[in-house]
């Protein structure tokens, strides 16, 4: 059969056996291949070398404050949905050294610049691509670009995986971010039982495939994929009506629900840690006992931390009520004015990983009761 001519937008059928070739080529070209793996009963993102490293035969069950990896009863690799980790740790590392300084008579500074890693992200969900796009708006701006984020982002290769089996707390359909990746990937896969449907998303994606003999995806395969995606839209674990956002929140900043949720919230910051779009950070200075050597680090921070809004003269958000309201009114409220999109992508992690079972889809519904419009 004739080799298929690939271009951006082509779909092909990729036999599962050929998947490893793509991984090998990525590594040859200098990318570190990272994908989902199961460690300690949870899905994490770790280096992968072959398809066999992926969580074949597993799926995940999620609910408020609940997460379990269980056997799926089939041989598919990508029935799991994302765990607590998100891909933001690769572009926006949790700890980063900014510079060091040493005093030898006078202070001398040394910028810490390391070569940016090249990460090939395997198995990126549509909601996660949406999250990367949201963070791009925060870190890559006309007036300020984060150099670390920019370099790592430029060097990344994205292999997306569309979701036919959404998780128990997923609501990408409500947010318009899934279950199919609309773009911003190099390659995208839809996993059927025997084969992947492969979509080429960029020139880089096309280049990786050159020389591979691929058949075009035939109509029956494509129809199966479409049906699977349509079914996925119906199977979402959660729904959120976003038609009246951000106004619903911004007009109800004194709603009694804020006090109600504050009674449950522990201000533990788990939601912000697992959220793939949260971008707040802090700086920490680590100084030797002699005071002659110091290092400045950038670390993840959370608006739930009491120190976040502390300034000389007191704390502008001194309690959980004001901090929870800040988080939600930013994520599903003021984020829109700042960046043109809502900050939530419907991945459901904050619902799954909240130790006291706070569910933002329920919170939005609660604000709608007795809301001012």
């Amino acid at each position: 059969m004739a080799e298929m001519q690939l271009h951006v937008g082509s779909t092909a059928a990729l036999p599962k056996a050929q998947f490893d070739t793509i991984l090998a080529r990525l590594r040859e070209k200098g990318w570190q291949t990272v994908g989902p793996q199961i460690r300690d009963d949870a899905v994490v993102y770790a280096p992968v070398t072959t398809l066999a490293d992926m969580p074949q035969g597993f799926t995940s069950e999620e609910n408020t404050g609940q997460y379990r990896v269980v056997k799926s009863g089939n041989a598919r690799y990508f029935d799991i949905t994302p765990g607590a980790q998100s891909w933001k740790q690769f572009f926006f590392p949790p700890r980063l050294s900014l510079f060091t300084a040493r005093k030898n008579g006078d202070w001398k500074m040394r910028n810490v610049s390391e070569p940016s890693p090249r990460i090939a992200m395997i198995g990126v969900r549509p909601c996660e691509i949406a999250a990367i796009n949201v963070q791009d708006l925060a870190f890559l701006r006309e007036d300020f670009t984060d150099p670390v984020y920019r370099n790592r982002r430029k060097n990344a290769f994205i292999v997306a995986v569309n979701c036919l089996h959404p998780g128990g707390t997923c609501f990408c359909d409500s947010m318009g971010t899934g279950p199919k990746a609309a773009g911003n990937f190099d390659l995208a896969l839809t996993e059927l039982d025997d084969v992947f449907i492969l979509e080429v998303g960029s020139e880089s994606g096309k280049d990786i495939l050159s020389g591979l003999t691929l058949q075009p995806a035939d109509a029956s395969l494509l129809q199966k994929a479409e049906q699977g995606l349509a079914a996925a839209r119906e199977k979402m674990g959660r729904r959120m009506d976003i038609r009246d956002l951000p106004d619903l929140i911004l007009k109800n900043l004194d709603h009694p629900e804020w006090a109600a949720v504050a009674k449950r919230c522990m201000s533990c910051a788990s939601c912000t840690l697992v959220c793939p779009t949260c971008f707040c950070w802090d700086t920490q200075d680590h100084t030797s006992l002699s005071g002659n050597e110091t290092e400045r680090e950038r670390v993840w921070d959370s608006c739930f931390n009491p120190g976040y809004s502390y300034q000389a003269g007191g704390n502008t958000r001194p309690n959980t009520r004001s901090r929870y309201r800040q988080w939600l009114s930013h994520k599903l409220g003021t984020w829109k004015e700042q960046y043109g999109v809502l900050g939530c992508v419907g991945c459901g992690r904050c619902i799954t990983w909240c130790p006291v079972k706070i569910d933002i889809t329920e919170e939005i519904a609660a604000l709608r009761k007795e809301a001012r419009s």
């Binding site: 931390n305 007191g314 704390n315």
Partner: protein, 163 residues
């Protein structure tokens, strides 16, 4: 004392009297005099029975209260065109609540409070206008006092929390 009698035409140019009729201005002018004061002069003392309702024309008058062991505390200053001694027209404050002490020399308009009270009883329209003014003065003083109570420049001593 050096007081100068006052005419209605002298009063009508003052913003505080801008909503009174000529007839009312005449009634007030008849019971009003302009008095000069010198630096340090006490216009009235805490505890005095009410005498006059004042309006500062020039200079500055300080309101002070005495606290045993702490001495005299200056609470507020009153500038030109501001009312001093509103307590003279109300019953609750039958004695002066503060001491009025001139910070520098100046001139003051003094209205006989007892006669003002009689005139208000006789003419409710005048009474309403006067009380309305006095209420506004008290409201302004209350706001000023509350803001001073807030101690808006104070610094809490807490250190930054960890985390």
């Amino acid at each position: 004392m050096g007081s100068v009698p006052v005419t209605a035409s002298m009063l009508c140019s003052m913003p505080i009297f801008s909503d009174l009729t000529d007839q009312h201005l005449g009634v007030i002018a008849a019971i009003t005099a302009i008095q000069p004061f010198s630096e340090g002069q006490e216009l009235f003392h805490e505890g005095d029975a009410r005498g006059f309702l004042y309006i500062v024309l020039e200079g500055r008058v300080a309101l002070e209260m005495h606290i045993p062991n702490r001495g005299r505390l200056r609470i507020l200053t009153v500038e030109p065109q501001e009312v001093l001694g509103w307590s003279s027209v109300l019953e609750v404050t039958s004695k002066r609540t503060v001491t009025a002490c001139a910070v520098c020399s100046g001139k003051i308009l003094a209205i006989d409070a007892a006669k003002l009270h009689q005139a208000c009883e006789k003419d409710p329209v005048l009474g309403y206008a006067v009380m309305h003014h006095v209420a506004n003065v008290i409201a302004g003083r209350l706001l000023a006092t509350r803001l001073q109570l807030l101690d808006m420049f104070s610094q809490p001593s807490s250190e930054a929390p960890h985390g």
